[in-house]
């Protein structure tokens, strides 16, 4: 798939933009603070209807404006579609081919954009919340029904927590609210099991590709793995038994949850560990090895999506080269040259981008794409 045309109005510091991207490598260079990441964010947001930098889409509104617009004409499997997003301070509207899409869940699944950002390279050693987001972004591209599921789960989680607090501070006696809490346990367990199963299934698909990619990058003969960390019996249960295992766990932790006013088990507490030679890579791998682990994930993710959807996804590569040593950087661009993805690459120095063919360069200066 590829973006044939992009149109942007009043997003961050970007000047009004009409761009017809090249089918393969689109390189945007410029000094820091000029709008390079803003441009990638624009593409990400029109595909995913959320940003990787902020949870509030309204942050994308150019300072002192009330409405922003992003439009992308996308070709996929010979079919063209126009995706449009209008952002206002308190609302957003998504359209496909001019028709308003409601519910928003309908928007997802066909427009796959993979982001690779320099922050990702610190992931194995970073906070679990960042790894969960990273994993969920990948699962979301894999299956279009994941985002609405995850959003429902988040709402049930917040509902359950609100109820726990009402019980905890005595506004509702457990005697009468017990049945209600049972309901939220059941609803949470069902959705949490579905989300956990989706994550596990994704990791199962990614794992062999990840290991092979790491070996190709590092050539060290060291075994690497991706291990999902959650309550043992929940992770070990099959998809059919997972909800029941979670529900049993919720019953066991109920007194503690009421005391804390928070739910102590579920996908929002799980983690994924980059294993390196049987240990937690975050704790034991060198800086260079950490980067190779993340690079291996990202290349594996691209190949997996290409295989699943029969179309290579669009890749957004945000200034990653400055964080990779020359050898790994070489690997990344050799890899991309052998694939068919349309790439949007930002860099402070165009010479970091090691592709020669099918390449179009632009300079980004003060929000203008030149």
């Amino acid at each position: 798939m590829r973006i044939l045309a992009l149109r942007v109005r009043d997003v961050r510091n970007l000047e009004p933009l009409e761009l017809e991207p090249a089918p393969r490598f689109n390189v945007f260079h410029g000094d820091n603070g000029q709008g390079k990441t803003n441009l990638l964010e624009t593409i990400y947001v029109v595909a995913a209807l959320r940003s990787f930098r902020t949870s509030k889409l309204a942050d994308l509104l150019r300072f002192d404006t009330q409405v922003a617009h992003i439009g992308a004409r996308v070709e996929r499997g010979g079919l063209e579609r126009v995706y449009e997003l209008t952002i206002e301070p308190r609302s957003r509207r998504a359209r496909i081919d001019g028709k308003v899409v409601r519910p928003l869940a309908r928007y997802f699944g066909e427009f796959n954009v993979v982001l690779f950002a320099p922050e990702d390279l610190q992931l194995p050693r970073g906070a679990p919340a960042d790894r969960r987001r990273f994993l969920d972004r990948a699962v979301f591209n894999r299956r279009g029904d994941f985002m609405p599921l995850a959003q429902d789960l988040d709402r049930v989680l917040r509902s359950r927590n609100a109820l726990l607090r009402e019980i905890g501070d005595g506004r509702k006696p457990l005697r009468t609210a017990g049945t209600l809490l049972d309901v939220y346990d059941e609803q949470f367990a069902q959705l949490a099991a579905t989300v956990t199963s989706a994550r596990l299934a994704y990791l199962d698909e990614l794992r062999p590709r990840f290991a092979a990619a790491f070996e190709a990058i590092a050539r060290m003969g060291i075994a690497v793995d991706l291990r999902y960390v959650g309550p043992d019996e929940v992770v070990a249960a099959g998809p059919e038994a997972r909800a029941a295992a979670l529900q049993a766990r919720l019953v066991a932790t109920r007194p503690q949850d009421i005391a804390r006013g928070a739910t102590s088990v579920g996908p929002h507490r799980d983690d994924v560990v980059f294993e390196f030679g049987g240990r937690d890579g975050g704790a034991f791998a060198s800086q260079g090895q950490l980067r190779a682990l993340v690079l291996a994930w990202k290349t594996a993710e691209l190949d997996l999506l290409t295989e699943i959807h029969g179309e290579p996804p669009i890749l957004l590569l945000d200034d990653v080269s400055s964080e990779l040593d020359p050898q790994r950087n070489r690997y990344l661009f050799d890899f991309l040259a052998q694939r068919r993805s349309q790439c949007f690459i930002t860099t402070t120095h165009p010479r970091h981008v090691l592709v020669a063919d099918e390449r179009v360069d632009h300079e980004v200066r003060e929000g203008k794409i030149i």
Partner: protein
């Protein structure tokens, strides 16, 4: 602002979706509108306050208590369809496929908004399912027709837990593909739900 206007703005601003700003705009619109039109609006509000109430059986809005649906002898009194709002009753009844009775909850459970079971017309529903005085036949089935949202599902699950022990059949409306909808444009969550709730032919 003069007093009648300020009072009106205050009242309008209490309506859902209306704030101080919209309330003021509406108030000044009414000041400029023909006097007859404003009087008719006032009369409609008075009629609403004096004549419309909630049916003591099903909690739907009505002028007569019990309402026409609850007293209609052609409607099956043994099947009750539970919905969130009076508008939902209208939506289901327009099709004419359902010939039982209704029960209106007037809200869905939502701890996030501080809405609990006591804020729903659940006591009235349980009253209808109880042993009664022997004059009305016992209820055979309760159909839970709340939305497939997080709140609608939670409400349905809660009601099912209360009602099932009474030996009454509890069913949930199916969610799935809209008739005449294009499969291609249907979101994957809906497709997944439709598949999970598939029926054998």
């Amino acid at each position: 602002m003069s007093d009648p206007i300020r009072r009106l703005v205050q009242h309008l601003a209490r309506l859902p979706g209306v704030g101080e700003k919209t309330g003021t705009r509406l108030a000044f619109h009414l000041v400029r509108a023909p006097r007859q039109q404003t009087r008719e609006l006032a009369q409609a509000l008075l009629d609403l306050a004096d004549r419309i109430r909630l049916c003591s059986v099903c909690a739907n809005v009505t002028e007569d208590d019990p309402c026409a649906t609850c007293t209609d002898p052609r409607r099956d009194p043994e099947v009750i369809c539970v919905v969130a709002t009076p508008a939902d009753v209208g939506a289901i009844d327009r099709g004419g496929h359902f010939r039982g009775r209704y029960h209106v909850l007037h809200a869905l459970l939502s701890p996030l908004e501080g809405i609990g079971p006591d804020d729903l017309r659940i006591a009235e529903l349980m009253q209808r399912l109880g042993p009664g005085d022997g004059t009305a036949p016992p209820v055979r089935e309760v159909i839970l027709a709340t939305a497939p949202s997080v709140e609608g599902e939670a409400t349905a699950m809660y009601l099912a837990r209360l009602i099932k022990p009474l030996g009454v059949t509890v069913s949930r409306i199916a969610t799935g593909l809209p008739v005449g909808g294009e499969l291609e444009y249907t979101d994957q969550a809906t497709i997944a739900r439709a598949l999970a709730g598939r029926a054998t032919l």
